[in-house]
Symmetry: C2
Subunit: 404 residues, 2 copies
């Protein structure tokens, strides 16, 4: 080991704090005398095979701090999932540039990429330290208490539902908000944290961890509407029927799939519209509105959890420390140690890659359409400080004169 | 005049600051010795005819301040547009409760309601002071520099597009964001304030002030995509063809209309999905995503302009002062007096009601798909302090070794 060159890339969907991890890594790495250069690959692993590398060592610390506070992947991202030939291309570039450490900031798919690259490097006898730095708004990495990016997205969802509930109380009807989350319902469940008063929405929450039945859904909405005169509903884009078929894809004319074989769920309002149409048609409720939160929830600038920011910063820093002093490849994981405190561990890549965490049963109410207090206790500290709060008039009714 | 009772109601779509006007009115009114009671009607004019009144004089000042900072109409709202028989019902209730001043916080439709009630009162010889307090995210009231509620919604839209642009730069493709605004494009145009670097999106902005041509739209997108390798587009929900037919209603299976005869444009992702489908099919671009901002943009809790807050507060206060000392009915209007300062005037109801302001030509670029610097100068001070800012890496490319 002598080049002192390390390489970092960002993969998968952007988050509000993924650049905190990048800045944490670069600034921490530059403190090590063994590090001569910190390279960044543009647009993830694709940037490696295209040799689109930039020298982050030449960036100012000041601008790195400003970029850290900017959402979305500053280096660019990719949805590419390297297979063996792809990895061979990666190695050629890494060898040519004498890269000794490879850091990939990403989610499930990215951790699997790191695992493959790590295995390829070992098989090729190439001395490469590979570290996966976690990031995903889906919160679906096995072994982590939670993943950087999720808390800020959860904060957006909670604030969005707090506002949607107020809007719906003002002009009553049915409101359906569709939230990201293919397999894991954590982000959708965050809607529950927008609730304050007992009759506040969301009144119903539909998660991909439970089988979705349109009949039961309509019965739930009908009962809620009868009780409150309105109904606010949080729905995961990943809800599916008993056979596992996404409700969203049942009506899509043309199903778009990415390189990982995933059906496109975001970037279309189809699911919300279908559910609204069903409610109008079957329940005869006139004012039914659906919003699909889409990309707003993961890249909205100006809605970020300060807890998320500092943890994302730390996983970047810790990644470098693990690489320098740990002597093995791995994936950085956040472990909760108190209420509320965390520490970081380096997990084996094989324990993280290709696995998907879903919401634990203890987080989902028996009805299947709400969260438990255990979930509220789990999520609340992650949302950070300065959460906006909603207040109501406590009106004194004026005695009626005409309509006694 | 001896009862000292005044009545306030909120109508139309909620905003982030409409309760500032309510609190400003109640707190200011209670400073007048002539005022004995401040009543609120629940759910607008409907609450009046149903005699659903509450005594706001019994609310604490402290809670009024907390409610002021809470988005959406605290008294509830309505879409009802009173006709003559409806107004007769209003008078019966007002007479029975000896109401001497009627304040209605709302937009275009609400100002027309105030006008009708005012005229009815005069015709009936009933001594009623009627004041319209402006509120609309559409910014479409004639005579006002801008309307309370618009700046906060504009801030949400600007922040949303700043984030969407970062997301799109990270994972390039075409992004379509559909923004509220039936006839006036102000809110859609606010997307331009999310732009910082010269190649940032939104690259194209489609406003209801210009005729929308699908062919021209596709040509614009194609050219932008060829130039930047990506394209971020802001589209008003109110875009229409040369005959005035909304593009959104051209594909809606079942067109829903409200009491004012307006087609439902919000609460459905249909327009964004249609435009995305066209881009995919006609331009062969694979990654095309559409978001409909829907209700998020008007009721998101935690995204508010402090300038909007204080002006919304002041129009509520000024309304009371105009009523007490002005001697005539009217609509409170914000007038810009400097860069940036404002003052308030009481306009004649007939000069405001039933009229719709649209974006002035000087605010729209010659291309029709961008705003002018005059618009940026107009809007920027309204967005308030603490606008989040986006920063980029200024990378130094690493010399290629393999791919020379």
């Amino acid at each position: 080991m002598s080049s002192g060159k390390i390489l970092v890339a960002q993969g998968g969907g952007p988050t509000a704090v993924i650049n905190q991890s990048l800045a944490g890594l670069v600034l921490e790495a530059r403190r090590f005398r063994d590090v001569s250069r910190v390279y960044g690959a543009l647009h993830g692993v694709r940037g490696i095979i295209n040799e689109d590398l930039v020298d982050l060592t030449r960036e100012t610390s000041h601008n790195l701090e400003l970029v850290a506070a900017t959402p979305s992947s500053a280096l660019g991202s990719t949805r590419d999932k390297p297979d063996l030939p792809y990895c061979e291309e990666i190695f050629k570039v890494l060898r040519a540039h004498e890269i000794e450490q490879f850091y990939y900031i990403g989610g499930n798919d990215s951790s699997d990429t790191v695992r493959i690259v790590s295995e390829q490097a070992q098989q090729a006898g190439y001395p490469l330290r590979c570290i996966h730095i976690p990031k995903t708004i889906d919160n679906d990495l096995v072994g982590s208490d939670h993943t950087p990016g999720f808390p800020s997205a959860a904060r957006f969802v909670a604030q969005a539902f707090a506002g949607a509930n107020l809007d719906n109380a003002s002009l009553p009807g049915v409101y359906v908000g569709v939230v990201m989350g293919r397999h894991a319902g954590f982000l959708t469940a965050a809607a529950a944290l927008g609730k304050k008063f007992p009759d506040d929405g969301p009144h119903l929450i539909y998660l991909p961890e439970r089988v979705f039945s349109l009949e039961q859904f309509l019965a739930d909405v009908k009962a809620t509407y009868a009780r409150y005169g309105r109904c606010v509903i949080a729905v995961s884009e990943g809800i599916h029927d008993a056979s596992g078929e996404p409700i969203a894809s049942l009506l899509a004319k043309e199903v778009e799939r990415d390189a990982h074989g995933n059906v496109q769920l975001s970037g279309t309002g189809a699911l919300a519209d279908l559910l609204c149409d069903e409610i109008k048609a079957k329940l005869g409720i006139k004012r039914v509105r659906g919003d699909t939160f889409g990309y707003l929830q993961r890249s909205f600038i100006g809605c970020v959890s300060d807890v998320d920011q500092r943890e994302a910063r730390e996983v970047g820093e810790k990644a470098v420390q693990f690489a320098m002093w740990g002597g093995r490849d791995g994936s950085v994981a956040i472990k909760r140690t108190g209420f509320y405190s965390v520490d970081y561990e380096l997990m084996a890549l094989s324990d993280v890659a290709g696995k998907t965490r879903v919401m634990e049963d203890e987080f989902i109410s028996a009805s299947g359409t709400d969260v438990t207090d255990a979930f509220r206790l789990y999520l609340r500290p992650l949302l950070g400080s300065g959460m906006p709060d909603a207040f109501r008039l406590r009106p004194s009714p004026v005695e009626k004169i005409l309509k006694k």
